[in-house]
Each structure stands twice: as structure tokens, then as C-alpha cells.
């Protein structure tokens, strides 16, 4: 479905993604793990076209997309739920959802999808006219996901969806993601919460200072020392800047093209 081949991305002089290669099967839920500054957000934004890869290729069902502008990429079926939700704070809930469906024509299908979002996220029910900026953090996250779903994406990218949510809400969020995955949407979830994301994901990759340090099935990854470390102490601590020397990759499978 989605394939990354030797993707290199720079922020000015900072080499943020270093030869990232992996692929995502249709219908899979892939967790991208890594500490702050490991390159998770850069990976998301490179995929969405907000940041342009300096070299390497990204294929969506065989079609190269790494040089396309963000709006074209959305039209091809990749939608991102960005870190920190990034709602339109002064638009109402319904208007936010309408913007999520910007690439689609108005019509019955769109209205049906909108009521489906309200069913899927009952917290938003009856709040269609509320201004998005006045929702609680959890409601905002639900709206951000609902807004992305309005585009009817084939691939959904979620960047740190659990950030700033209470443990109970995080639990609910991952249940929702698992349900979406069962409906057949291909998903990439960037998370610091390795424990929960590996629980819902079928596969995972670990980014370290811009490189794919590990990849494999969720079960495999859970057994590695490196991921255990991520479970435990290092979560949330400030990380080395991404231009530090890359992680050495002794164990488990190395990032490969296929």
C-alpha cells in the first residue's frame, strides 16, 4: 500500500530522516515508535508532503508521491491527524468536519459520514455548533480523528494521538483506533506510548535519531531490549537532537525495503 525507499529529509542542516525504508501492507496498523526528536513527526510530514524529502521515494500503491503538494496527497487518499490535533479553533465542530471533507463534493454521502462521526464519537454528539476551541482535550482529539475520517482516507496517519490525554481517554482512543483498523483503513500511528500502540498494531518500527533502528511484528518488537527500554524509563525525556550520530542496530531485523 505505502512504501518508503531510502527517504532522507532535512530541516535546514539537520538530517531528520536518514534513509528510511519500510512498507505498510493494505489494512495494516503500523506503530512508529521512538522518543522525542527521533523523526516520527518528520516521517508523518514527509508522507503528507508538508516537508519535502531531499532524496528517496514514497509510493502509494505504486505511485510516487514524495514530490506532490499536500493537497494532492490528501486527494490520493492519505490524511494526517497531526500532533497537537491542530483543529480550526474558531470554527464549529460541524465546520471542522466539513473542512475534513474539503476534497469531497457536498452531498448525501458526506452528510451520512458526518452523522457517522457523531455516532462513532458520542462525546461530540449534540455539539455540532460548539466552537472547536472550547472542547475538552479528549473531545478535541476525537474531533481531529473524525475530521480526518471525513476525507474517507485509505491511509490514516496519526501523530502522537495520545498526547495530553488522561490514561482512561488514551485507552478509549486506542480502542477506537483498533476498531477503525478492523474496518480496513490502513494506519500509521506515531506514538511514544509503545505499550498501547504495540497492543493494537500488527507491526511496528522503531525510529532512533532519524533511522529505522528496528522493525518487525508487534510481538517481536515487544521482546527486544530496546523496546523494553522505551516502555520503561526513557519515555518523555528530552532526546538527543536528530543530527546526533544514528543509532547502531545490532539486534532484530534491520529496516529493509520490503
Amino acid at each position: 500500500m505505502l512504501r518508503f525507499e531510502g527517504v532522507n529529509t532535512f530541516y535546514g542542516p539537520i538530517h531528520a530522516l536518514k534513509g528510511v525504508s519500510f512498507h505498510v501492507d493494505k489494512g495494516a496498523l503500523v506503530a512508529v515508535l521512538g522518543a522525542n526528536g527521533a523523526g516520527k513527526t518528520t516521517l508523518m510530514n514527509t508522507t503528507s508532503g508538508l516537508v519535502r524529502a531531499r532524496s528517496g521515494q514514497i509510493f502509494l500503491e505504486g505511485r510516487r508521491i514524495e514530490r506532490l503538494p499536500p493537497d494532492r496527497i490528501v486527494r490520493l487518499g492519505i490524511t494526517q491527524v497531526p500532533e497537537g490535533r491542530q483543529l480550526f479553533p474558531d470554527l464549529s465542530v460541524v465546520e471542522n468536519l466539513r473542512m475534513g471533507a474539503y476534497i469531497r463534493r457536498n452531498g448525501a454521502a458526506l452528510r451520512r459520514d458526518m452523522s457517522e462521526v457523531f455516532e462513532r464519537f458520542p462525546a461530540l454528539n449534540g455539539r455540532g455548533r460548539q466552537i472547536a476551541g472550547t472542547l475538552s482535550g479528549g473531545e478535541q482529539q476525537m474531533l481531529a480523528i473524525g475530521r480526518a475520517l471525513m476525507a474517507r482516507p485509505r491511509v490514516l496517519l496519526l501523530d502522537e494521538p495520545s498526547l495530553g490525554l488522561s490514561p482512561l481517554l488514551v485507552r478509549q482512543l486506542f480502542d477506537r483506533l483498533a476498531a477503525l483498523s478492523h474496518e480496513g483503513i490502513t494506519m500509521i500511528v506515531a506514538e511514544q506510548n509503545a505499550y498501547l500502540s504495540l497492543e493494537v498494531a500488527s507491526q511496528g518500527i522503531v525510529l532512533e535519531t532519524g533511522r529505522v533502528a528496528l522493525m518487525g511484528s508487534s510481538d517481536e518488537l515487544r521482546r527486544t531490549d530496546r523496546v523494553r527500554q522505551l516502555y520503561l524509563g526513557t519515555k518523555g525525556k528530552a532526546d538527543p537532537r536528530p543530527d546526533d550520530t544514528g543509532g547502531d542496530v545490532p539486534d532484530a531485523k534491520r529496516g529493509s525495503t520490503d
Binding site: S48, L50, P70, D71, Q80, M99, G100
Partner: protein, 293 residues
Amino acid sequence: MLAQLIVSGLAAGSLYGIMALGLILIYKTTHILNFGQGDMAMFSTFIALLLFQSYGLPLLAALGAALVTGGLLGIVVDRGLLRWAKNAPVTSLFIATLGIGMILQAIALWMGLIDSRPFPYVLRGRPLFIGDVVLRQHDLLVFGVALAVSLLFFIVFKFTKVGIAMRATSQNKRAAQLMGINVGRIGTWSWALGLGTGAIAGCLVAPIVFLDLQSMIFVMIKAIAAAVLGGFTSLPGAVVGGLVLGVIENLFSGYMPTAIAPLKTTFVFTLIILVLVVRPHGLLGERSAGGHG
């Protein structure tokens, strides 16, 4: 006397308000304050005048042409000029818009657009008398157009996809891109609509002030003042700001001794500073005004 001053003030204020709507629209989506708004409006108005006087186009058709010219000018300014400098700081682009305005002044001079007879009134019938208030038909037209433009803006921004997308883009450009909104195109739409609105203001001002190169600059300065008064990011605020400005200005020049009456503009700007001290975000400004990226 008082009622007359207020009514005349409202008529002038409507013009400031229309002009301010165009300015704020462009500012909200592109974060560029168009210092060339006055010259651009002047240019569109000159085109209408040219078509009317030299090519014998009916007046209403010529006014329509001004609107179209404004829209096209917006597209040219955005696509043809500013897009090439998109990596420049926004504040530098402010100056670029000033430059574009001067280029348009030069073009207008070169085309011989300046040496014209006064711009005709669309409605030049007998004035209306309501009590002892005299209302020129042109004032009625100004009120009507201001109302129509405000209503149109309201409908566009509240109900149409492109209008909501303009608001979305102004609130969070990056998120707008992630929704598949072509933010560049939204910017172009804003320029077209903003300068089209400017052209409307230009055609309404022209019969009153006698068109020359600088005539729109003063209206633009008042429009900027109206926008500041209204909160700068609020479209209703722009209209309210314009009306308040027009009325205060007129009351000042009506009641002050003739020695200081001409200082009405100075007085208005002093007042605006006071308003900003008490209400930093203007009369109707959103508190989050500076917070969007």
C-alpha cells in the same frame, strides 16, 4: 443637525467599512496588510471610468467591469507578483504591496486615465427629506451596497465551502493543507475578492471626491483605522469600525469651531489609540487574534 451629521457620517463610514472588509479579508488569509489597496481600488475605478467615457459602455456595465478588473487585479497581484516572493518575510511583502500600488499609479498616468471628467453618480435624483435630514440618493446607494456586501460576506464565510476554507486557512494554515485545501489558491481567492470589494468602494467614493491619483489613499487610511478599531481580524468589526469612525469624524467636524474642525482625522486617530489602550483587540476583535499561525 445631530441627526444629519450622524446620517452623513454613516454614509462615509459605510465606505470605510467596505474598504476595510477587503483589507481584512486579504489580511486574514495571507497575513499581508495590503498597503496598495487604495491604489488598486483607484485603478479599477479608472478602468470603469475609461470604459464609460471613452468606449461608451453603459454606466452599470462599466461598474461591473470595475468589479471584474478588481478581481483580475487580485489574481495578477497574488499569482504574478507576490507568489514569486513567497519566502520573503510578510512585513517585507507589506512594502511590496505599496510598490505595486505605485506601479499602478504610474500605469494609470501613462494610460492617460487621470485627465478625466468627474465620475458620474449612478443615482442623481432629488435628495430625500426625512424630517429635517437630507439624504442624497447616492447615500442611499452607499447604504444599500454596504449592506449587500456585508450580507454577501456573511453568506460566503458562513455557508460556502470556499468561505469556510478561508477562515480555516487563516486559523491554521498547516492544518488546512492537511485537509487538502490548496492554501495558495485560497490566498488568490482572497486577493480577488478583496480587490473586487475595493473596486466597489472605489466606484462609490469616486463621485464624491473627484477621482485623482491620491483620492483613494485617504479612504484607505481611514479603512485601516476602521479595521484597527474593529479588531483587525473581525469582518463585522470592520463594518462597525467604519461606521463608528465615520460618525465620530462627522460629529467632530460639525460641532468643533471652524479653526480645529479640519483636524477631524487627527482626532479620530487619537481616539483609536485610546480605544486600543482600553480594548487592545479593538471593538469586536477576537482575543486569539495573534495566536494563529
